[in-house]
C-alpha cells in the first residue's frame, strides 16, 4: 500500500559548495608521464595495442576490445611507451596500465581527422571511435546508448546538465565555455538518430547556465531547457527521466524502453569536438576542490595524468589530505593513492582534510525512517538492512535492493551513521552470487 504521503520529500538537500562555479577552465600542460588504464568503460578491459618502446602519437588507438560494452582507448600524448604496469583500481581490482613518457610535442596521429558521417551507421561508428563513455561510475559506452534495439520508439534526447553533486562545476563550465559544441552535438544526435525532441535538464542553482542555454536554443526546433529543483540526485538517470518527462523506467529496463536516451552534457560537447576535429576523448575538465586544496579551480587535464600533478598544477595541497576522491562526495570513489590517473569519466578531484573525514561511528538503527524518506528510488534501507543481517535473500529481492542506484541519500541522512550504501553493495553482490549458484546448479 503506497500513499501520496510516501511520494514526497525524496532526495536530500545536500549543501552545494559550488565554489568553483566562476572559475574558468585552465589547461594543464603535458605532464612527464601519463598512465593510461585499460579499464575505463563498463565491459572487459581493452587489449593493449602498443608495445614497450613504441612511439605513440596523440589520438592513436592504444587499447581496444571486440567486446560489446567497450570503447577504444587513445593515447592522450605523443611520446614513448616505457612500460606496462598494473594499478589498483579504487574498487580493489587490478588493471593493466600503459605508461607513456611524453615528448611534449603533442604530435597528432595520422588517424586524427574529422570523420565522415553520412548516415546513422557511420554516425554510430564515429561515436565509438571518439572513445566516449558515460560519466556514471559504470562508464557505459555512448555508442551503445545511441543504438538501442527500439530506436524507432525513442522520442526524447535528454541532456543531463543537472550536476547535482556538491562541489562539482565542470559541466557548468562546459555550458559557459563550450555551449556551441553542446548545441552542435545535440543537433547532430537528433539528426542522425531521428529524435524530434530534446530536453536539457539543469538544476536551478545555475541560473546563468540556464539563461545562456535558453538564449542559444531559442531557435532550435524541439529543444527545451528545463530548470530542475536543486535537490540531490536530480542528475541520476532515472530521476532525471522522471523529472523531465514523468516517465518511470521499470526495473530491468533501459531508458530507451521508455523512449529516452540520456547523455551527459560534457559527453555531448566532446562528441561535437570529435566530429569537428577528429580528436577523440583525450582530456577531461575536472573540478579540483576540497578542504585540503590550496586554490580550487577547474582544470583541463590529459587522461592518464596522475591526480597528484593535477592538484599540484591547481596550486597544491594546503594541508595534509586525508581522503582523495574522484568524483563528488556523494558518489565519488576514494583512491588509495594520489598517483592514480585521471580517467575518462573523471569530473572532479576532491581532497578532503582531517575535519572533512570524520570517523563516523556507527550506532544502532533507531528506525527513524529518514533513509526511507530520502531515497529517490523509494526503497526502504532499514528493511534491507534487516534482511541483509538475517541472511534473507528472498527478503532482499522483495526489498528491491537491486534498484538501489547507490546515490548515498540514505546514508547521508542517517542519524545513526549506518553504512547503508556499503551494505547495499554487499547485498547486491550476495544476490548476484546466489543467482549464479542457482544457474550453476
Amino acid at each position: 500500500m503506497a500513499s501520496i504521503f510516501d511520494r514526497s520529500l525524496k532526495g536530500v538537500r545536500a549543501p552545494h559548495r559550488k565554489n568553483t562555479m566562476d572559475m574558468e577552465t585552465r589547461r594543464m600542460p603535458v605532464p612527464e608521464k601519463v598512465y593510461i588504464c585499460m579499464s575505463q568503460h563498463m565491459g572487459p578491459p581493452c587489449d593493449i595495442l602498443a608495445e614497450v618502446g613504441d612511439e605513440v602519437k596523440v589520438g592513436q588507438i592504444i587499447g581496444d576490445s571486440g567486446a560489446f560494452l567497450s570503447a577504444p582507448i587513445h593515447s592522450s600524448v605523443s611520446g614513448k611507451v616505457t612500460g606496462i604496469s598494473e594499478i589498483i583500481m579504487p574498487n580493489g581490482t587490478r588493471s593493466k596500465t600503459l605508461v607513456i613518457e611524453t615528448d611534449k610535442k603533442q604530435t597528432l596521429h595520422e588517424s586524427v581527422k574529422p570523420p565522415s558521417v553520412t548516415d546513422r551507421e557511420s554516425f554510430l561508428k564515429a561515436v565509438r571511435a571518439a572513445g566516449l563513455v558515460g560519466l556514471g561510475g559504470a562508464g557505459f559506452p555512448a555508442h551503445i546508448k545511441f543504438n538501442p534495439k527500439n530506436l524507432g520508439e525513442v522520442d526524447t534526447l535528454l541532456i543531463n546538465a543537472a550536476e547535482c553533486e556538491p562541489y562539482i562545476t565542470s559541466d557548468y563550465r562546459t555550458i559557459m565555455e563550450r555551449a556551441g559544441d553542446v548545441l552542435y552535438g545535440v543537433e547532430t544526435i537528433m539528426k542522425w538518430l531521428d529524435i524530434k525532441s530534446c530536453i536539457i535538464g539543469i538544476e536551478d542553482n545555475k541560473p546563468e547556465g540556464i539563461k545562456k542555454l535558453r538564449d542559444m536554443t531559442k531557435d532550435m526546433k524541439g529543444v527545451t531547457v528545463q530548470s530542475l529543483e536543486s535537490r540531490y540526485p536530480q542528475g541520476a538517470e532515472k530521476v532525471l527521466i522522471y523529472e523531465t518527462t514523468g516517465r518511470i523506467v521499470p526495473e530491468g529496463k533501459l531508458p530507451a524502453d521508455v523512449g529516452c536516451i540520456v547523455n551527459n552534457i560534457s559527453t555531448v560537447a566532446q562528441l561535437a569536438h570529435y566530429l569537428r576535429d577528429g580528436l577523440p576523448l583525450i582530456a577531461k575538465c575536472v573540478t579540483v576542490d576540497g578542504g585540503a586544496i590550496a586554490s580550487p579551480g577547474n582544470i583541463q587535464a590529459l587522461i592518464g595524468t596522475p591526480i597528484r600533478e593535477v592538484i599540484a598544477f591547481a596550486g597544491g595541497y594546503s594541508k595534509e589530505p586525508r581522503k582523495v576522491l574522484l568524483g563528488g562526495p556523494m558518489m565519488g570513489v576514494s583512491v588509495y593513492d594520489d598517483g592514480y590517473p585521471v580517467q575518462k569519466n573523471s569530473n572532479a578531484i576532491l581532497a578532503m582534510d582531517e575535519n572533512q573525514v570524520e570517523g563516523y561511528a556507527e550506532t544502532a538503527c533507531i528506525r527513524c525512517g529518514r533513509c526511507v524518506r530520502s531515497c529517490p528510488m523509494n526503497l526502504m534501507p532499514l528493511r534491507i538492512e534487516d534482511c541483509f543481517n538475517r541472511g534473507d535473500n528472498e527478503g532482499l529481492m522483495a526489498c528491491k535492493v537491486n534498484l538501489c542506484i547507490e546515490c548515498g541519500c540514505c546514508a547521508y541522512s542517517c542519524p545513526a551513521k549506518r553504512h547503508l550504501v556499503q551494505m547495499h553493495r554487499l547485498a547486491k553482490q550476495r544476490l548476484r552470487q546466489d543467482q549464479q549458484k542457482k544457474k550453476g546448479a
Partner: protein, 315 residues
C-alpha cells in the same frame, strides 16, 4: 608516496545530526510539561523526573558495562525513557517504586531485547503498566494540584465513577476545559497540561523530529469516536494521557511504523482502542494499553505499508 589516505565507501559526506541530537530535541520538547508539573505539583515533580532519568541511565550503563557492550548512555535514549516514565506516574509515587519501573523499562524491555532499536514495545509504557499492575493503589493516588497531601480522582476516574451507580452518589465534580487545558487537574505528573505538551509538539514538528501524522490521527480519532459514541469529545481530548501518549510515545521511532501511511494506521488504531477502553473497559484510562497493543502489531503494519520501489516490478 601514499599519504595514509582513508579509503571508504561513498557517500563521503553526512548530514548533521545524530541519535543523541534527536533525543536531545525530544528532551527539550518535554521541558514545558516539566515546568507545568513543577508549577502544579511542586518540586517533587522535578525530583521524580531526575530520579527516573538518572536511574534509567544508570541501569543502561551498568547493563552495557556488565555485558561488555559499547556504552550507549551518551545517545540519551535512556534519559528520554526515564523522563517519559516519570511523566506517566503520579507525582507522589514513592521513588523506589519509580526506580523499579525504570528497571522494567530499560533492562527488561530495552536491553534484554538487544538495546535501542530492537525493543518491540515502548519501554516507558511497559514500565508504567508494570507499576500499574504491581502497585495499583500508589499508581492511582493522584495528587490534586494546589492541595498538598490531598489525593483524588483524575477526571477520567470521575467519569468512570459516575457511570457506576454504586459510586455515582458521591459528590463528584468535573473540572472545566480551561483547567484541563492548562493542567490544573489530577493525573500523571507530566500528562495533565495539554498546553505544555502542545508546545513540545510544535517544537518537534519544527525540528522535523516527527511528522504530525500519528499524533493528529490518534487525537482526531479519539475526538471523533468519543463524540460519535455520545461522550464529550473535548473532555476526552484533554483528559488523561492522550496528548502525552499521542505526541511523545506514539511517535517513538522504534516501536511505531515507518511510513506515513503506517503512522496513520497506528494513530487511528490507538485512538479507537483508547476510546473503547475508556468507555467500556475496567480501567478509566486506556492510552498506555492502546499504544502497547499497537506497538505489538507494528511489524504487521510495517509489512502492510511497504512502499513500492520506484519502477519496481512485482513478480
Amino acid at each position: 608516496m601514499t599519504q595514509n589516505l582513508v579509503v571508504a565507501s561513498s557517500p563521503h559526506f553526512r548530514a548533521e545530526g545524530s541519535t543523541a541530537a534527536i533525543m536531545r530535541d525530544v528532551l527539550i520538547a518535554l521541558l514545558p510539561a516539566q515546568i507545568a508539573a513543577i508549577y502544579f505539583f511542586g518540586a517533587g515533580a522535578l525530583l521524580l523526573t531526575v530520579t527516573c532519568a538518572a536511574a534509567s541511565m544508570l541501569f543502561e550503563y551498568l547493563y552495557r558495562r556488565l555485558m561488555h557492550l559499547d556504552g550507549t548512555v551518551g545517545d540519551l535514549s535512556a534519559a528520554v525513557t526515564g523522563v517519559l516514565l516519570a511523566y506517566n506516574l503520579p507525582a507522589g509515587i514513592p521513588l523506589w517504586m519509580a526506580v523499579i519501573g525504570c528497571f522494567a523499562a530499560v533492562i527488561v524491555i530495552k536491553q534484554l531485547f538487544g538495546g535501542l532499536g530492537r525493543n518491540f514495545a515502548n519501554p516507558a509504557i511497559v514500565g508504567r503498566i508494570v507499576l500499574l499492575l504491581s502497585f495499583a493503589t500508589q499508581m492511582t493516588s493522584w495528587p490534586i494540584p494546589g492541595q498538598d497531601g490531598v489525593t483524588g480522582a483524575t477526571p477520567l476516574g470521575v467519569v468512570a465513577a459516575m457511570s457506576n451507580p454504586e459510586t455515582a452518589s458521591e459528590a463528584l465534580k468535573l473540572p472545566g476545559y480551561l483547567d484541563m487545558f492548562l493542567g490544573n487537574i489530577g493525573g500523571s505528573m507530566g500528562e495533565t497540561s495539554a498546553l505544555a505538551l502542545l508546545i513540545g509538539f510544535g517544537y518537534l514538528l519544527a525540528r522535523r523530529v516527527i511528522t504530525a501524522t500519528e499524533p493528529l490521527a490518534f487525537m482526531g480519532t479519539v475526538f471523533i469516536l468519543s463524540w460519535a459514541l455520545g461522550a464529550d469529545p473535548v473532555f476526552h481530548l484533554l483528559a488523561g494521557g492522550l496528548m502525552l501518549g499521542a505526541i511523545f510515545m506514539g511517535t517513538d521511532y522504534v516501536t511505531t511504523p515507518t511510513t506515513e501511511t503506517g503512522k496513520l494506521i497506528f494513530g487511528v488504531g490507538a485512538g479507537i482502542l483508547t476510546v473503547v477502553i475508556r468507555l467500556y473497559g475496567s480501567y478509566p484510562e486506556g492510552v498506555s494499553f492502546a499504544i502497547l497493543l499497537m506497538n505489538i502489531i507494528t511489524p504487521h503494519i510495517d509489512n502492510l505499508t511497504r512502499i513500492k520501489a520506484f519502477g519496481g516490478v512485482e513478480e
